[in-house]
Symmetry: C2
Subunit: 450 residues, 2 copies
């Protein structure tokens, strides 16, 4: 039942486009859901995609356009469209999707489209939304919602839904307001269906509801909706006037994007690249963190050089350079990622710094002793007994230091407003590499003198 895109299918569509075979193309697209047509368009050359797109129903086209996630992809796709053409689809958009699309366009296109919109209420909605950044509640909200005055009856309320039906795709609930547009509560669609026609809304609405202000950070909105299993949440201004609502589908997109960003940050990739981006874009996205790694390693080279004397005396010292670096890196990543996880879970008591460090130190001692002893055993077996204490003690010290840095770095980054996930990536590995190797040679320096 789900659509599987194959190379053969794409080729068949390309041939039909080449032949300008409208009937076949329309019939083929008729079979697909909009999201699937989108994946087909994505595989076609720009002009071919544009041609196929113009054959679609306007509603289907609008749904596809609204759901292209990558702003760069969408801007490129729309490069062939006139402002009038864009307006034609925008007319069927929800206000939040329209504002998102127009923010990606030049100011000229943006103003042309807004001027061309026939529905002046929609134009006003979009203008209301344009100023909000995408990282606050106002940037996620849509203006379309059904609201009812607290003095209305259920019947008046259903009449209002009927009037709005075309504009509000998913109703979920009717928001209840007073004469000043102040949010008082809501009636779920289910309760509206079940209530008698002449009941007053004031007697059946739920006044104990959650809402957010326009300026709330998106992460807070996501957390509230997820914790309380909400399908939609109303958005108000500082006077608690109802301005819009945020629906669950937008929240899911935020969650998915955040997860991808975190993973890319941990992996040391800057910006949002994907495997099918150009070679140049991918190389550029990787280079910055690789260079951080190179810089760190060259500092390590300088450290090693300064201990040339020790290396000259005990050449076997070189054998354990890798274990110091990699153990430091691995412990640092593990520690940092747990801290990042706690930071992103905002429910529950904040763990105190003291308690945090106490645990981190205990875990580090436990793991440090085990690793230190194992490596010591290897030293013993390979007949480098002079290095037993150097290697074992260094590893314990490295695990302790790396745990400490893995704890501190994300907490500090978070405090100064940088995504702490980047602390779990190449940054921490590089820093710990360097610290690990430095510690090792210092310990060797003192122990071998004795």
């Amino acid at each position: 039942m789900t659509f599987e895109l194959t190379k053969e299918y794409v080729e068949r569509i390309e041939v039909a486009i080449e032949a300008r075979d409208e009937a076949t193309l329309k019939a083929e697209m008729e079979e697909l859901f909009p999201a699937d047509i989108n994946t087909v368009l994505y595989e076609l050359k720009p002009e071919a995609a544009h041609y196929l797109f113009t054959l679609l129903d306007t509603e289907v086209g609008a749904e596809i356009l609204a759901n292209i996630d990558d702003p760069a992809d969408r801007r490129q796709f729309l490069a062939n469209f006139s402002s009038a053409e864009i307006t034609h689809y925008i007319e069927l958009f929800d206000s939040d999707d329209a504002a998102d699309l127009l923010k990606e366009q030049s100011i000229k296109v943006r103003e042309e489209v807004i001027a061309l919109l026939k529905d002046r209420e929609q134009a006003r909605f979009i203008l209301d939304l344009l100023p909000y950044d995408e990282d606050v509640a106002g940037g996620l909200m849509q203006k379309e919602l059904v609201k009812a005055n607290v003095n209305w009856t259920v019947n008046e309320c259903i009449e209002e839904i009927r009037k709005q039906a075309e504009d509000v795709e998913k109703v979920y609930a009717v928001y209840v307001i007073d004469d000043n547009q102040t949010l008082l509560g809501l009636v779920s669609l289910k309760n509206l269906v079940l209530a008698r026609k002449n009941t007053k809304i004031g007697t059946i609405f739920d006044d104990d509801i959650l809402y957010v202000e326009t300026y709330r950070p998106v992460e807070e909105v996501v957390e509230i909706m997820q914790r309380h299993d909400l399908d939609a949440i109303p958005v108000v201004n500082v006077q608690k006037r109802l301005l819009g609502r945020i629906t669950i589908d937008d929240v899911i997109d935020v969650i998915t994007e955040k997860a991808e960003e975190d993973i890319q940050a941990i992996a040391g990739i800057t910006g949002e690249v994907e495997e099918d981006d150009t070679v140049w874009a991918q190389a550029k996205a990787r280079l910055p963190w690789l260079l951080v790694g190179v810089a760190g390693s060259l500092m390590a080279a300088t450290v090693i050089r300064s201990f040339e004397g020790e290396l000259g005396k005990v050449a076997a010292l070189a054998m354990f350079i890798p274990i110091m670096g990699s153990t430091g890196g691995n412990v640092g990543i593990q520690t940092a990622s747990l801290i990042v996880q706690t930071l992103s879970d905002k429910s529950g008591l904040e763990i105190s710094w003291k308690e945090r460090l106490r645990k981190v130190v205990l875990i580090a001692i436990l793991n440090g002793l085990i690793i230190g002893l194992l490596a010591g055993l290897y030293v013993w077996v390979s007949n480098e007994t002079a290095l037993f204490w150097v290697v074992s003690l260094s590893l314990l010290a490295v695990v302790l230091l790396a745990s400490f840095m893995g704890t501190i770095t994300p907490l500090l980054l978070n405090r100064i407003g940088i995504n702490p996930a980047i602390a779990s990536g190449p940054f921490i590995t590089t820093a710990n590499d360097l610290v690990g190797i430095g510690t090792y040679f210092l310990i060797a320096h003192y122990l071998l003198k004795m």
Copy 2:
């Protein structure tokens, strides 16, 4: 407006519990949403939490119990409850939540609770769901839904919703079936509100809908619902009989869990631990991958030892051991994480192996040349000119090899059914450390002989 848990608040509640001050506690809890009460309970000692819990309204208690995510936490919390007490809350659960909770309990408790349930339809629903694993659609679905025969009128349909209203918390849509319970389509709640009372359902329902079979993997369900912005999806058996539905809140939980798992896998933490777990649990979860790292580094030590001759001749060789290991590790993680990202995005044409490798190699050459030249410059400046070609060429080779391994490993793991995210973690770092150092000394061996 959102609840912030403070130490002082928890202490105040603890004092009130100590004093068995029912009135204060009830008043305080009245102020909170169930999800917030849950975070309070989590901070209390088991007996205190149990006492506070029994003071809550049964509905609130049921909502809290249904939403404890961690099975171990919930089992522990319920350890003080009799089967009759558990049944008391389960009676208010949706069937999917009830089945999830009972799967965590002993067979004895499970059977006692099912026998004690007064609503025999609910008991049958739960028994229907118990056999499904949590990683297929059947394990996510709930039996509660509103269905209507295609021959009914809108009025009969609304009567049915009225009857079911208590059991079905969020309706979203009414599923339309024929006399054999075969799924034909659906009517959205909105359209039902808008239709005339005596309209036949058969004339207004949407027959072009998405559904899933019980055996579909959870990831597929998530992907379908996310791509098509669905609030709920019906679940059918192989004969397309309607068995249940999956709602969006469950899907969000799956997405969040998956993201956390991936990050832990990349960070090299096995199992699901959190920062507030015990020292022992955390140490255990980290040790396996640390040991893999240690094993790899000790192999690297053995490799280095076998090149003692080269190290004796050119002591400066030791200086560049860290850069080989860390560059290999960083490149490997970057490459693997992009592959993992592509693998989890199932829409779009699969990228062919040839195309994949072509790009990977080009990116590697580009970045390898830049890094190799920079490091070469350092070699030059630090007057180790003999090592210029050794270091530069080794780095190019290391970047190429690490890119290759970072591409192949997740693809292979994915093919044999292991979460490819673990390939982006300590595994790839360790392997690349080893390969990097080996390559370096081999190249040194041949170039220095000349």
